[in-house]
């Protein structure tokens, strides 16, 4: 029998919700207009369900279940705001906040407020270390234990197009998926190491320019925390000049080839500082190639003269 629309009925927070077969609990929560946080889920990527911020309580299950990937089944009874759910979500926020610089993840601060998360409860975040990339799996040494071990490390700047600031990496796997079988099929990066030493890496931490990377920037587009960032944005931020109030955002079509990808241009002081594509766009599904993503510098060179406002001749 083929699946009919609305053929699954379940209870979410006591309300009856209908979803189509194949839908997830996240879909069900959304159908019931229940705001459910996600970090590692994205509509254009295969769910990896690793961040666990979306967990919900499912009657009969021993543990909580990830809403983003658990398929809805008829008769399920789901709670999205029980004490157990709130505790786990709070702790996920605290564990992330105590180990990762989440300041550029837009929904992080509001979520901390919503769940009463205080990452400082686990102590001050530890100072940067650049030993992560060569750490050996398994045995490790516990430092003084008075600081919370963290991802803090130096920013990797090895090309002119984008930087990798893994102090901000929450290991959501999105960049790996975007680079791999979900979009780009380049497989330039993977998750290396194990446990808390896990990190996003090229082989042997080779600079991107020596790796298989083709600089499509799809990883940058997927990154939710600002760990992967346009060099232009990084430089402006480093100079203290990044100012979203002075930015405009415009959708246009990529000028390069006949595919016609939608580009979303973010412009500050007449310079394109970030290029993305809407993840629900039917042409791109959010993914671009190197030309559309980074090949727009020439526009700035032809930008209007800041004095006269007239295009250069």
């Amino acid at each position: 029998m083929s699946a009919q629309p609305g053929d699954i009925e379940l209870q979410v927070d006591g309300r009856t919700v209908r979803v189509t077969s194949g839908a997830t609990l996240l879909d069900a929560c959304r159908a019931a207009a229940i705001d459910t946080p996600t970090f590692c889920w994205a509509e254009n990527l295969t769910p990896v369900n690793v961040c666990r911020i979306c967990v919900v309580e499912l009657a009969g299950a021993r543990t909580l279940v990830p809403a983003c990937s658990r398929k809805a089944e008829a008769g399920m009874q789901v709670l999205t705001d029980s004490a157990r759910v709130r505790t786990s979500r709070k702790l996920v926020l605290e564990l992330l906040g105590s180990s990762v610089d989440m300041s550029l993840a837009s929904d992080f601060a509001p979520l901390c407020k919503r769940y009463g998360a205080q990452p400082e409860r686990f102590g001050p975040r530890d100072t940067p270390s650049d030993h992560r990339d060569a750490s050996h799996a398994g045995h490790h040494e516990l430092g003084n234990a008075d600081k919370a071990a963290s991802m803090a490390q130096s920013v990797k700047i090895d090309n002119d197009l984008f930087v990798r600031d893994y102090s901000r990496c929450m290991l959501c796997y999105k960049c790996v998926e975007a680079c791999g079988s979900d979009a780009q099929h380049t497989f330039a990066i993977g998750v290396a190491g194990r446990g808390f030493d896990a990190r996003i890496s090229t082989e042997l931490d080779t600079p991107l320019s020596d790796s298989a990377c083709v600089f499509c920037g799809n990883c940058v587009g997927a990154c939710p925390t600002g760990a992967l960032m346009f060099k232009s944005e990084h430089d402006l931020r480093a100079a203290g000049e990044w100012d979203e109030s002075k930015q405009s955002v415009t959708d246009t079509i990529c000028p390069y080839c006949g595919v016609g990808c939608t580009l979303t241009l973010r412009v500050q002081a007449n310079r394109i500082v970030r290029v993305t594509s809407p993840s629900d766009n039917s042409v791109t599904a959010g993914h671009l190639c190197v030309k559309g993503r980074f090949g727009t510098a020439f526009v700035a060179d032809r930008a209007p003269d800041s004095g006269t406002g007239q295009p250069p001749t």
């Binding site: 967990v55 786990s88 799996a137 516990l142 234990a145 330039a188 290396a192 190491g193 194990r194 298989a212």
Partner: protein, 614 residues
Amino acid sequence: MDLRPIPVDPSDEERRAVDSVLGAPPADRAQPAPETARVLRTQLLPTLLALQNRVGWVSPGGLGYACSRLGLPPAEGYAVASFYALISLGERERSFAHVCDDIACQVAGAPALCAQLERELGPAFQPSHRAEPGQARPPSKAHWGHSPCLGLCEQAPAALVTSARTDGPRAQAFGSASCASIWRALAGDEIQPRPVHLDSSGPRRLLARAGRIDPTSIDAYLAQGGFAALRRAFEIGAEGVQREITASKLVGRGGAAFPTGRKWEAVARAAAEPHFVVCNADESEPGTFKDRVLLEADPFAVLEAMVVAGFATKAGRGYLYLRGEYPRAAAHLELALVKARERGYLGRNILDRGFDFDIELRRGAGAYICGEETALFASIEGYRGEPRTKPPFPVESGLFGKPTAVNNVETLVAALDIVRDGAAAYAAVGTAGSPGTKLFCVSGNIARPGVYEVPFGTKLRALLGLAGGIPGGRKLQAILLGGAAGSFVGANQLDLELSFEGARQASATLGSGVVFVLDDSVELAPLLQRIAAFFRDESCGQCVPCRVGTVRQEELLGRLTRGISLGSFEQEGNLFAELSQAMRDASICGLGQTASSAIESALKLFQPFSRKTP
């Protein structure tokens, strides 16, 4: 997909190591086609291990050559290689001692042994390091490093010495380790193994042959009724086997206690083809060594049981995933595989019954998490040992996405008796809820540490008595039941009945059969700290609650031990309570879900940390 190879040539030795697994390279040096590459991927870990075992480390040149032979992006090869503790991505001494400092060894003097090694052999291997981008880790001159439990807890302290050699590696694991014996092993001397102490109360089923017959002789096995269960299985048919197993109420001995009959029936029924059988011999739970004993001392029984399972579940192929730290078990199994094939107990048309089944032995590479069934599949397939989400369950989508019956070594061996003698005979001992017998790994402060087979329902007190009680006139302080993922019980709980329902009643678990005994001289705080370190080291790192939670748990215990608490003692207690709840509730797999259970039980039962706040 355009592969960009690592721009370093392999040495001749590295080429030979890789070719020893993959065969000589094709003459045209073409990269494998994508379809072949998918099939080849499952050879990744064996190839990396060949490099490690023959060259002593996986160099950029070796990794690059392995990846191009396998048609694999180097970033993916690196992602997998860097996952395993037994694989070194920096140059290391060819002979290297892995010295256990885990719970049983800690209590048996490992800290003193390690201090002595520091003085006489030099500093231990440094896990944390800095390397230049694109370069290997800097070379290490260390002769030894720390290791988690080596499954030799009854002879603690234990060591595993590996020697990389071009002509095939050597490895020896031994107990009662001393500076002298480790030194001799590093120099190439053979250390005589000490036989494990085996005993039983009631019928000896699982240990019927172990220690009594030559484990390298198939004739000895046959003389003791070997392969009778397989013949019986052919008589009663696949459905008959399923019926007996289900009727016997056999449940898994790997820790999760899932009904084996239901698992086998589900796989047999599954529509997708082919079906697989996997024997989980990754035994890495600290304090566990029962599977090692079966694998070393009764390898044919494990193979026979896998054939029976394959017949019952309509599988044509089995994988035996053996932890990398068990060299003797590997040698005995390899020999047993050859002999079983020679005699027609494996391969095509087994015993002329038209049933084809063969077994491939796979070695782990130092990762406790690969004992989790879905991580184990990922490891065999050539991916990082990261557990997968359930559902779908392995019976439906397991190894290579196919219906898979995965069972612990002891579960499989128990199934032999059930098939041969029937479920009713099996239930002649044990309790109504837990029929039959169970192996327990007794170690710590006990007169005769070893593996004990007792009927379910035996009192904990009786088991300790069988093992000779606590030596030296000491008093019992605590018992860790079920392993690092289990829980502590106190001296007032000796009437606990060793059965699944008895353990549940006492809010404990039998887990993997660990009974780790501590007398009143043992300090609990460092032991708890070691348990916390174990989970931090062994977390795969996939999910936030476990990847960061195990670190925070270890830091919290570190603060309590050092008296540098962040708030009041009560605040730290609340922090721990919330942390352990979130880890239990929100982690993907059993590792994170149970990472705080032993510590939680110890905090509840004893006062391992002083209450004063600095």
